[in-house]
Structures are given as C-alpha cells and as structure tokens.
C-alpha cells in the first residue's frame, strides 16, 4: 500500500502546488495609488471623494476584480497617503507612488490646487490619471495628455448657465454674497457679466472672509434690497451659517442659491425642511432616469456609509473610477496605451456618457440641482432635468 499512497500524495502535492501557484497568480493585485486630505483644511471635504473610491473597490473586488483586456480579473488594492491638504505633499506622494511604490494606476487627490500641482508630475512620468474634484478655468491651461477632468462645473460655463436659468425663472434683481476663497471669486467674476448680459440687476454684491462667523449685517442688507434671487457663493462651513441666518432673518427671495454645501448630507440634516428650495452646484442626481447606474450607486453608497453621497464630489469621484475601469478593460495597464484609451474613449458612467476633448469632458452638461423634499433634483438644464425648478417657499 505504501507505493500507491506515496504516488497519490505526490500527485496531490503537485496538484496543490499548481493550484496555489495559479491562485497566487490570479490573486496578484492591481495597485491604485492616491493621496487624499485626511488632515488639514480640506479634510472635511475629502471623505465625499474617498468613500466612492472604497465603494468602487469593494464592488469591483466582489465581481472578481478589475477586468483586463484578456478577460482576466485581478483584485484592486489601494495605496494611499495623507497629503495634509498641502499641494507640495501631493506632488511628493505621487512621485513616491510612481517611482517607489510602483503602483499600476493612479486615482485623483481632492481639490483643484492638488490637481493643478500634479499635472506636470503626471506629464513627467507619463502616468495617466482621471481627475475628479477640481473645477477652475485654470484647468483649461493644463497641458493635455495625462490628466482629464470629468467635471462640467467650471466657473465660466456655470456663470453663463446660472444667468440663463435665473432669466428663465423670471429673476430681475439679484444679491450676490461671495466667500473670498478662489472658486467662489472665480464664479463671481463670471457670473456678474453674465447677469448683466441677460439684464439682471445686481443690487447687493458683498464678499466675505472664509472664517466668517456672522452674516447678519450682509443679510439685513439683502433683506432690505428684497431681490428676486440671492446667490450665496459658499463653501461648506459658511453654507451652514448662511442657511441658519437667512432663515433667522426671513429672507424671502424665491430663488436662493448656495454654491457648495447643500449637496452634503449633513447640510440637509442640519437644516431640515429649511433646506428645501435651495439651488446648488452639481450636474448629477440619482433621480435621473436617463442615468440608471446613478440610482444603483446612490443605494449602494447609502447602504455602505449610512449617508447620501455628495451630488458633486462623490459623483465625480465615482465617475473617475468608472472611466478608469472601462479604459483598463479596453487597454490594460500599460500607461501609454491606457492614456490613449482614456483620451479617445467614450465612457458610460453614473452621470451618463463621458468623452474628453483635451482635458475636458465635452458631454456632461453644466447643471444645477435643487433640494426638493429633502432630495437632490437636477433642475437645469432643460435637457437632463429630473424636476422643474420650484420657487423657495420660506424656510
């Protein structure tokens, strides 16, 4: 009996060894590197981007991994670092990711300054990266090649579109309150001429510092001017303050916009029904029937994190990973081939079709959302809206 037993054992051993080697080969992960602001001034905004990354990773791995052109699937592993909200750190981290960690792919950091700082690094190392949470006209000055921006919330286009939307809603006078941070000021600089062009009179135009703690004097001025529209070019922290104090002072304008903030889950929790009717900047809504993947993303996000995704940053972050996933399935991991696939491809995302010309997404229309019954509805532009704009009825 000894001989056959040995033979069986040897055969089993050989089979096991082959299986283990095969398993090891199949399990060899694809590494995706990124930095994110886990600490510092942007830290509160970063989870709205990192959560979609984590959700996407979980979903892809549950399906067996990231698909390559030959049909093979390999699990995704993230290599990430905290950039402490400092663009100089972002540059150093991505250089490390590319040269030392030797990651296969890159995902984007949070925010415009980080993206702008990173563009030359990507060019130098010839590593493609789909950006997401960046929005500035400066993005157009970035040399096309290795970075792309899926956003359509670029301030010049937004200024023109918002003026059109306000005109369509019968707005004749507007009060503008703008945070002094760059994105708000850039938006303001394009909005004012756009409003003039459509004949909307600006009756109040105030800028305020990012650390503002009280808006009473500004809002008393707005209340006295009684404009048809109040456009508050907020960041998240002051969006809470604006809503609370506009409610206190009973601002009655039927068109109230708060630039960044209202699409954050916590904003609606803090303001309840008072948030209804507020317009904000985003070009995605889970309510859109035309983008069926959107609702699935929304539901999965809520199930995973117990809160709603940010209609702007979370949607963009997830879109960037969808684009990367589809490009990898088409082109594989070779950076140059992948670059070509992203630059020339057309992608199916939660925000519909995306295609790039140079660095910019040329398909997704610039839009605006409104909170209606606690939900984020896309109310502009006409072609993709999920609900009609509803004038704000009190706080």
């Amino acid at each position: 009996m000894k001989g056959p037993t040995r033979l069986v054992n040897a055969a089993l051993g050989a089979v096991m060894a082959t299986m283990t080697a095969g398993a090891a080969f199949a399990q060899d992960p694809i590494t995706i590197g990124y930095s994110i602001a886990r600490t510092g001034i942007y830290a509160a905004a970063a989870p709205s981007q990192e959560n979609p990354y984590k959700l996407w990773q979980k979903q892809v791995n549950a399906e067996g991994g990231l698909e390559l052109p030959d049909g093979e699937r390999r699990p995704v592993e993230f290599v990430s670092y905290d950039d402490q909200s400092n663009p100089a750190n972002t540059v150093r981290i991505y250089e490390k990711l590319i040269t030392q960690d030797d990651v296969d792919l890159l995902a984007a950091p949070w925010g415009t300054p980080m993206h702008l700082a990173l563009a030359p690094v990507l060019q130098r190392y010839k590593m493609p990266m789909v950006g997401n949470t960046a929005a500035s006209v400066q993005l157009r000055n970035v040399a096309p090649g290795y970075i792309w921006f899926p956003t359509s919330a670029i301030p010049d286009a937004m200024g023109a579109e918002l003026a059109k939307m306000m005109q369509a809603e019968g707005v004749e006078t507007a009060a503008l309150l703008a945070n002094e941070l760059p994105y708000s000021q850039e938006f303001r600089s394009f909005l004012i001429p756009a409003l003039e062009e459509v004949g909307i009179e600006v009756t109040v135009d105030e800028s305020y510092p990012p650390d503002v703690k009280d808006m009473t004097s500004m809002l008393v001025e707005v209340r006295e001017a009684a404009p048809d529209a109040v456009v508050a070019m907020t960041y998240p922290a002051d969006s809470f303050l604006f809503a609370g104090q506009a409610r206190e002072l009973g601002i009655e304008a039927p068109f109230v916009m708060s630039l960044i903030g209202p699409t954050i889950d916590a904003y609606r929790k803090a303001n309840g029904a008072g948030a209804n009717g507020i317009v904000s900047s985003a070009h995605w809504s889970s309510e859109a029937d035309a983008w069926p993947k959107g609702q699935a993303f929304f539901d999965a996000y809520v199930a995973e994190f117990g809160e709603e995704p940010d209609a702007l940053d979370s949607a963009l972050a997830y879109m960037s990973m969808e684009i990367l996933q589809q490009a990898v399935a088409e082109a594989g991991l070779d950076p140059e081939v992948l670059r070509g696939a992203i630059a020339e491809g057309t992608f199916d995302t939660i925000n519909g079709e995306v295609r790039f010309d140079g660095v910019q997404n040329v398909v997704t229309p610039t839009g605006f959302v409104q909170i209606q019954d606690g939900k984020i509805e896309l109310v502009w532009p006409e072609a993709v809206k999920t609900a009609d704009f509803a004038p704000k009825q009190g706080w």
Partner: protein
C-alpha cells in the same frame, strides 16, 4: 443707520460676543492659574460638538442635556491631563519655570492627537443636526431658538463665573493663585486642588461651548483651531489671566466685529479683529480692561 441701531444687529453682536467670551473663559482660567498655554483648547470645543451630535443622533438626547455630558467628559480629560502630565511638573519649581513654554508643545501634541483620534473614530465627514431652529420674533428682532439659547447659556456661565470668583471662598483662592501664586500657598490655599478644579472647569467650559456651536455650525474633527485663535485673541485683548476682563473682551470683540463689518464691509473682518489685537498689544500689552477691573 437704521440697520446699525437695530435690535437685530445688537442680538447678532451679543451672540457672537457671548460665544467668544465663553470659549476664551476656559482658556483664561487654565492660563491664569496654571500658566499653561492650551493650544488644544479649540479641540475641546470639537469634543463638545461631537458629544452633542452623537447624543442627539444615537440616543435622541437634546443638546440642553448634552451640555452636562460634554462638560463632564471634557472635565475628565482635564483631570487626566493634569494628573498625567502637569501635576509633577508644576510641583517642581525648576520644571514649573519652564512649564509655559513646555505646555505649548505638549498641548500642540494633544491637539494633533485629539483631532486624529476624532477623524479615526468619526471620519472627517461633516456632521450636523437640527435643533431649536424655530424663529422667534420679539420687538422686530428675529431670533432662532438655538442662537437665543447660545446667548443665554454662554452669558450665564461667563457672568456666573465672575460672580463665583468674586463672592465664593474657592473663587477668592483661585484669584489669589492667579495674582500671587506663592503668596496664595503661604496663606493656606490648596494649590493642587485649585489647579485641578480649574483645569477641569476650564476644559468643561470649552466642552459646553462646543455643544452650543454644534447647534449652528458643521461639525468636523478639525473645526477647533479657529476657536483656539479667537480665544487667544480675546484673552490677550482682555489681559492674560484676568477672567472678568477676558469676558468683557469677548463681548467687545463681538461688538467690534458685527458693527465694524456693518460700517465697512465683511471683507474687513480680519483687519478689524487683528487690528484691534495688534493695537492692544502695541498700546496696552497688559490688556485693555486690566486696570479697570482690578480697581
């Protein structure tokens, strides 16, 4: 001019001022008695804010009750910091001489630890909740319930503390430690007890301020730093270690900010606040109210 003289502006100035005074009160108590520069003071405000958020979100406990919980939690932290870090340092004269500079570094470390622990435990995601946001209108002044509550509680704690220091025996002992540390010991003030209770009280007040702030602002692990800055500005304007003057300076800053912005532009906020701060440092480095209060 009508706007300037309106009750609405006065209410806004008093709410801001009372909050500044409250945040600065805790810092001033700790600096006055222990000579500790608590750079982590704003992070205690953050802990208070998270306490209120989790209490209402998980257990439906209203912030008015969370005030007590946050105060107790921060007081406990104060006890741990005092017993674990500073008691021995303050007891040895050669170490006590350097405690002010050392405390700055130690509290910086504590600040980083607290922020990152909060980020780890709660994530950096913004939080917020709705509480008492009904608008009450009285004599033409519109007030949300939560801002009215902030004004009431902050002012009560600030002026209650001043009265306590003026009329209670422990308050006398505390003021004696602030004014003449060694002499206070000579006349029988239990220095260790005063220091321990003051650090617990100072931390508790910051926790209470955090609960009040959480009713109107977004809550994040990194929300505390601006409060640390404001608290330092207030106590330097009022006079380091001068409790009553610090409270007055807090209200003063609220008035300067609100009316200054109304007279100029919101863009001048930082110039107004830091202009006042630098002006006081240049003209009366001991604080603008120091003499008036002592006399």
């Amino acid at each position: 001019m009508d706007t300037l003289l309106s009750g609405q502006m006065l209410f806004a100035a008093l709410v801001s001022g009372s909050l500044y005074a409250l945040v600065a009160l805790g810092l001033n108590l700790v600096y006055g008695t222990l000579r500790l520069l608590n750079i982590a003071h704003g992070d205690l405000v953050m802990i208070g804010a998270y306490t209120a958020f989790w209490m209402i979100s998980l257990f439906a406990v209203p912030p008015i009750i969370s005030l007590v919980v946050a105060a107790a939690l921060c007081a406990l932290l104060g006890w741990a910091v005092y017993v674990g870090l500073f008691r021995r340092m303050l007891a040895k004269p050669e170490l006590a001489k350097r405690v002010e500079a050392n405390s700055l570094i130690l509290f910086y470390g504590i600040s980083v630890i607290l922020q990152n622990l909060a980020a780890l435990a709660f994530t950096s995601t913004s939080r917020g909740y709705q509480y008492l946001d009904t608008v009450i209108t009285w004599q033409g002044v519109s007030m949300t319930g939560n801002r009215l509550l902030t004004l009431g509680i902050a002012a009560a704690i600030c002026f209650g503390t001043i009265l306590f220091l003026r009329f209670h025996l422990f308050g006398w002992g505390l003021r004696a430690v602030i004014q003449r540390r060694e002499a206070a010991q000579v006349v029988g003030v239990n220095l260790n007890r005063v220091q321990l209770l003051t650090i617990c009280g100072g931390f508790a007040v910051a926790g209470v301020a955090g609960v009040l702030v959480s009713m109107t602002e977004q809550i994040t692990p990194f929300m505390g730093f601006p409060f640390t800055i404001v608290a330092f500005v207030v106590i330097i304007i009022g006079g380091l270690g001068n409790i009553g003057a610090g409270v007055l300076a807090g209200f003063c800053l609220g008035l300067v900010e609100t009316y200054g912005i109304a007279l100029t532009s919101p863009g001048y906020r930082s110039i107004l606040i830091y202009g006042l701060f630098v002006g006081v440092l240049l003209i009366r480095p001991e604080g603008i109210f120091t003499k008036a209060v002592r006399s």
